[in-house]
Subunit: 290 residues, 2 copies
């Protein structure tokens, strides 16, 4: 049974994009509910605020007045913004960005958006919740509903092993790796030129790497293959290419973010003194991760 | 109550070293049992094989004949080898190395040694167990005893929050950071010159970083401070220093190892469909990790 289903308010203007998103979210876990961004989306979201768990947003469909209204009404939901990564915030600070040519990662991005929303929502002064309104009861209600629906333990996100890279069918596995390579390429191309855009690409990569349980060696491989490609191209064109080693900083950055994400995802350990053999712990009967 | 206590066979020839090790393992969790390395240690370890959980070894006290005898008798216990990191194996492949000037990390190294021993022991063809003897019942008995005593869940090691960096008294925290800096310095100094030695220093650093829950930013800081120091020294001495950026590879290496260690330490996730709110999970009532 595809439980728990998440209901996503989909504010997409481009029908081809809407179709592509529906395709990548098929399978029953996510239910997309289209909302016309041109017919008072604030009122629709307000009336149906109990229905939605997250928002899928096409970049540019919400203007500043709309996002301010949403903030004032406490209508800030976990969000994935589809469009070029520019470093600009479209909706709120906990949103996650994904370019159109990387939609293969959409389900991971949604998980990441919910995870970020819950983490940030639990910190004071997080920029969510619309300034003066502060810790709105609305946001707490949503956070509690999401936790109940998704089986959060504290603020720790439970990943879905069915979507781990190694558990995907071969075709999907290759598709996901190609998509991750495009994300990493965006990161490299903007790394020194546009730090805000690079940061969104970095977060997108790290989110998918985490939620797909990507082995660390794959990240290093993606980096090496891209740098290798750049190196050959520059040599063919007769350009200097020794600056390419500066891009190790990008890999370091990715690794540091990913490592910290893993570090914070380990459940708080019980002191050793309290932990003798726990025959009744359900985890002990599960197969170890590869 | 300082439970569970681990009994460590201590094969140290230098009395000052033995005293220093005892000092760093005070507190009741580890009980050191001195064994004279010059009076048939094989026979003593064999007679008392049920007593020991791990071995503390001074580099050079066991010759090749002794280690071969130990392997043949299935007497390969989790081990920390104290001495200069040279890349050479003193006892068996799962041993952990720690130089004398970094004994502050001894308790973390012992945890790492046990963790490595259990992980490797569960893999076929791991080089433990003495060739033809293969999967000796002895090793399985020891592995089971260690698991029972330490509260392992599957192959996942439970860290001791009391020894997390942030939970140490200020003086000990600074001591540990200085010790980690010395380990990292060893890593940098041998990184291009002696990969096998560098690898032992790297493993030592990563082990302590993991078991002390060192924030990733601290690792980056330790790297930057050391490189900064090298840079200033080389400039003062009128040497070139642009090669220093090659040492980013060392940081990348550390990060990749650490990240993979964290990744493999996350308990296998339950599929989302099975995980609704788990009111009875002890983890949900624990404070979140910083």
């Amino acid at each position: 049974m595809p439980q728990p289903a998440l209901t996503i308010a989909s504010l997409l203007r481009d029908p081809a994009l809407a179709q592509a998103c529906a395709q990548w979210l098929r399978g029953g876990r996510y239910r997309l509910e289209p909302i016309d961004p041109d017919h008072d989306p604030v009122a629709v979201l307000d009336q149906r605020r109990e229905d939605f768990d997250a928002v899928l947003l096409e970049q540019g469909v919400l203007d500043g007045a709309i996002t301010r209204s949403l903030a004032e009404l406490g209508l800030q939901l976990p969000a994935v913004v589809i469009g070029q990564v520019t470093g600009r915030i479209a909706y709120h600070e906990a949103e996650v960005h994904l370019p159109v040519d990387q939609l293969e990662q959409l389900s991971y991005s949604l998980d990441a958006a919910i995870s970020r929303f819950l983490r940030r929502g639990l910190q004071p002064g997080n920029g969510l919740g619309g300034g003066a309104a502060g810790e709105t009861p609305e946001r707490w209600k949503l956070a509690n509903r999401l936790k109940g629906r998704l089986g959060y333990l504290g603020v720790y996100y439970k990943r879905d092993p069915a979507r781990f890279l190694r558990n995907l069918p071969k075709g999907e596995r290759e598709e996901l790796l190609r998509s991750l390579t495009r994300t990493y390429r965006d990161l490299l191309l903007s790394y020194f030129r546009d730090p805000a855009a690079a940061n969104q690409a970095l977060e997108s990569f790290v989110n998918t790497a985490f939620f797909s349980d990507l082995p660390i060696t794959n990240t290093v491989e993606i980096h090496m293959n891209l740098i290798d490609g750049f190196w050959k191209q520059l040599r063919l064109e007769g350009h200097k290419n020794d600056f390419l080693q500066d891009y190790r900083l990008a890999l370091l950055d990715v690794m540091a973010h990913l490592c910290e994400m893993y570090r914070r995802s380990i459940p708080p350990d019980q002191p050793l003194a309290e932990s003798t053999v726990q025959q009744d712990d359900p985890a002990s009967t599960m197969p170890p991760a590869a």
